[in-house]
């Protein structure tokens, strides 16, 4: 790493629909460094990088590359300036071969025609330079996620990229693949490449990064050499002091003497969920914490019958059940609110009413026809109950704000009156007011005697809602902690970050 600054972003401001996301951020990269960019959800990391990558344009501030001011208006533009983003499925075509992907629009030609053989040879050299063993004639769609990533990197290198942005590059990699990626990063660094490394895994930051920059709520908290900080210090920078508000809730007493509502023993699903056991009691909110790729979503998906279970037993109210598909789960009184509400939770073009009643059609059907008046009544009731803000019941759901969409998804499942509720990241992309409402709603549900399993990457939120937190790592439960034994968010952060020795 040299002292030479290759990139400088100054006073960057960006707002969406009048909501400021970046409030004057400075960011600087030196030649040949690995620079970790850290921050909680909504801190502004992705927005900052999307500006650098030409996807968003900044409202205020400036970007200099090699000391010269530049305007980046498209990803193609950014690549011309040597900035490349490594992001799965971002710039690759699954139906083309590895070599064709790497040199797309920059193919070698002979006599005016594309010379695939020459490109295969070039690709082979390039990949060998990276120390990677991938057949350039393979169709990209047949590679693993790790393979895609490496091809993305190769493509960026072939375009003489000098700044690589890697967004959660290890999220879906196995440990051996992570090690391999780190070796490639070291190699690129020694060749003078500058790398921005975005991650939630602080352990990885300590391992690969030379410097770290931390953002919080759209503002720069600070930039430090990695040698001067430890994980503890990073957590403090990321979390700040703002979170103490959320930690008031203390563990309530749950009656754990009777039969658990849901009892899971030795539960596995492929290699993503391994030997998980836990009990969920009436009135309990169980939080699932863990890093990206730790198997949280996979666990609830498998429990709900979306992914196949490959081992273990599940008992509902003491009775062993077999859940092969979501309809089985629904029959046993379960409901799952998925993480990606737009694709998995809602029919966006349909009205609020139709979405709310989709799970109830059987109940609302009279003599083979849907009882429209009963449907309207039910929908109206739900809208009032959750305070969903929509122009009318006939408004298409896509016109609602993120928070209100999430409420529709929630109430759609609540209307089925489930006993066991799985919520995957219920507050992602939701404004703060609605976040609080959703957290309160979850508490109310528990108090009404339901069992709730909540996945959240926002640890403050987990602390505010959960009675108990399971910490997952590599698909297995690493430990189970009672809320009462947790003092604050940094402590939970440490538990999630650091493997048990």
């Amino acid at each position: 790493m040299s002292e030479q600054v290759v990139l400088r972003m100054r006073g960057v401001r960006k707002a969406f629909n009048g909501v400021p996301v970046l409030k004057g951020v400075d960011f600087e990269l030196r030649a040949g460094e690995v620079h970790a960019l850290l921050g909680g959800n909504g801190a502004g990391k992705s927005t900052l990088m999307k500006i650098l990558e030409g996807v968003y344009t900044l409202d205020e501030g400036g970007i200099e590359i090699d000391g010269r001011p530049v305007t980046l208006t498209s990803p193609v533009d950014a690549r011309r300036h040597g900035v490349a983003m490594i992001f799965q499925e971002f710039s690759l075509i699954p139906t083309l071969t590895v070599a064709q992907n790497i040199f797309l629009t920059r193919e070698r030609r002979s006599a005016g025609l594309l010379d695939d053989a020459a490109d295969v040879k070039r690709a082979r050299e390039l990949l060998a330079d990276m120390g990677v063993d991938i057949d350039p004639t393979r169709r990209l769609g047949r590679l693993s996620t790790a393979g895609w990533q490496l091809v993305e990197i190769a493509k960026a290198l072939s375009q003489d990229a000098r700044i690589l942005i890697m967004d959660e590059p290890t999220a879906s990699l196995a440990q051996s693949e992570v090690d391999a990626l780190f070796r490639i990063i070291d190699r690129l660094k020694s060749q003078g490449m500058t790398i921005v490394y975005i991650t939630h895994r602080l352990e990885e930051v300590m391992r690969v990064a030379d410097r770290v920059t931390v953002l919080r709520d759209g503002e720069l908290v600070g930039t430090r050499p990695t040698s001067e900080v430890d994980i503890e210090a990073l957590i403090e920078l990321i979390v700040g002091r703002a979170i103490e508000r959320a930690t008031h809730q203390s563990g309530r007493d749950i009656d754990r003497s009777g039969t658990p509502l849901l009892s899971v023993r030795g539960f596995s699903s492929g290699d993503r969920v391994r030997d998980v056991s836990f009990d969920l009691y009436r009135g309990e909110v169980l939080g699932l914490a863990g890093l990206m790729g730790s198997g949280r979503s996979e666990l609830v998906r498998a429990l709900f019958g979306i992914d196949r279970a490959t081992g273990g037993t599940v008992a509902v109210r003491g009775e062993t059940v077999v859940i092969r598909r979501p309809s089985d789960a629904v029959r046993h009184g379960m409901a799952l609110v998925p993480e990606d509400r737009r694709t998995q939770g809602l029919v966006l073009a349909h009205s609020v009413r139709d979405n709310l009643t989709l799970t109830l059609l059987r109940r609302l059907t009279r003599r083979g026809l849907i009882d429209e008046r009963a449907a309207a009544r039910t929908a109206d009731h739900e809208v009032r109950r959750l305070g969903i803000k929509a122009a009318s019941l006939r408004t298409p759901v896509r016109r609602l704000s993120g928070g209100n969409q999430q409420k529709v998804v929630l109430s759609k499942w609540l209307a089925t009156e489930p006993d066991i509720l799985f919520l995957d990241e219920p507050t992602v992309g939701v404004d703060i007011a609605t976040k609080t409402e959703i957290a309160e709603l979850i508490r109310e549900l528990a108090e009404a005697g339901k069992g709730v399993v909540v996945i959240s990457s926002e640890l403050a939120e987990l602390l505010a809602m959960a009675d108990r937190v399971l910490i997952l790592r590599d698909g297995a439960v690493e430990r189970s902690v009672d809320r009462g034994d947790l003092t604050d968010e940094p402590e939970l952060h440490r538990l999630v970050q650091e493997p048990v020795a």
Binding site: V76, E89, L104, T105, I134
Partner: protein
């Protein structure tokens, strides 16, 4: 380096031959052999009959080559049959009015015009190509009927009828030459030019292609134009072979064309395409039609058998 090597799944070894990739070729040979054995005495294998099959499928083959690009780019063109009919009519009327050159130019102009309208609506207005070309099917068909009062337009120009229809260039029928030309040009453009690569990239992942600098809009526009122009040429091949322009020429061809393209291994979802496959698909459909006729099956029965074979072939073909 062993850890790095293990990152990437290797080509499956041992299992060896992936027959699903070659299902079309296998099916083609199979159908041919079955017909050759059962219908050998009915003249199926005579060179005359086989040449006839190629000749009769020339229009479908030419359109299938172009539609390979359309489907490869994840679009569709339902208007090719109707445009061929319109082109045949326009060619006939323009030859009558102005002569050979005017006729050919007018027919090609029809193709360019229709293609630009289709392309502009899909690319710049953002209407799905399925709907645009469904509408265009009606417009082209209706226009062809209207301007001719539904009457056939005879073509007496010998040169036109020879070039686009019945004549032989040496030992090779001109319709076979048209097919060959379309396939050779189509294959090279698809496999060996930046445009062809861009078509596959656009069809494989439009957003990724755009971010990689592929001019996806221009490509989408152009495939629609190419398709309509190929349909116009097919219309002239109909007109030349049947020595007349008529609105019915090409009616329903869009389905045969799409079937040929998909049989040929082009993905209905775009990104993967094969011009040579499309030719084989087209020939296979021609082969089946011909064999079924020689077997003495009625038109209604032919349709059923053809449908079953197409579904079977596509179901068995490799998908990934």
């Amino acid at each position: 380096m062993t850890a790095l090597g293990s990152l990437i799944p290797r080509r499956p070894t041992g299992a060896g031959f992936d027959w699903r990739q070659y299902i079309l070729y296998i099916g083609f040979v199979l159908v041919f052999v079955v017909f050759a054995i059962t219908l050998g005495d009915d003249g199926f294998t005579s060179s005359n009959n086989l040449l006839n099959i190629v000749r009769q499928t020339a229009t479908i083959s030419v359109m299938a080559v172009a539609v390979t690009f359309v489907i490869g780019a994840a679009q569709i063109d339902l208007s090719v049959g109707a445009v061929a009919g319109l082109s045949s009519v326009i060619a006939a009327m323009a030859i009558d009015a102005t002569g050979l050159v005017g006729g050919v130019a007018a027919a090609l102009a029809v193709g360019v015009l229709v293609g630009c309208i289709n392309g502009a609506l899909v690319t710049f207005v953002g209407i799905p190509s399925f709907l645009v070309t469904l509408g265009m099917l009606g417009i082209a068909h209706g226009t062809a009927m209207w301007i001719t009062d539904s009457a056939p337009q005879p073509i007496v120009n010998r040169t036109f009828n020879d070039v686009f229809g019945g004549a032989d260039a040496g030992p090779i029928p001109s319709l076979v030459l048209w097919t060959l030309a379309a396939v050779v040009i189509g294959h090279i453009v698809l496999r060996r030019t930046a445009f062809g690569r861009g078509v596959l990239a656009t069809g494989g992942n439009e957003e990724a292609a755009r971010f990689s600098g592929v001019p996806t809009q221009r490509i989408t526009f152009l495939v629609m134009v190419i398709s309509a122009v190929a349909a116009a040429i097919a219309g002239m091949l109909y007109a030349g072979r049947l020595q007349s322009g008529r609105f019915q020429w090409g009616e329903g061809d869009e389905l045969s064309v799409i079937a040929a393209v998909i049989l040929g291994g082009t993905s209905l979802f775009g990104g993967r395409a094969s011009v040579v496959g499309a030719l084989l698909g087209s020939l296979m459909i021609g082969l089946i039609n011909n064999g079924l006729i020689l077997m003495g099956l009625e038109y209604s029965q032919q349709q059923i058998v053809r449908g079953v074979i197409i579904i079977l072939a596509v179901a068995l073909a490799a998908r990934d």
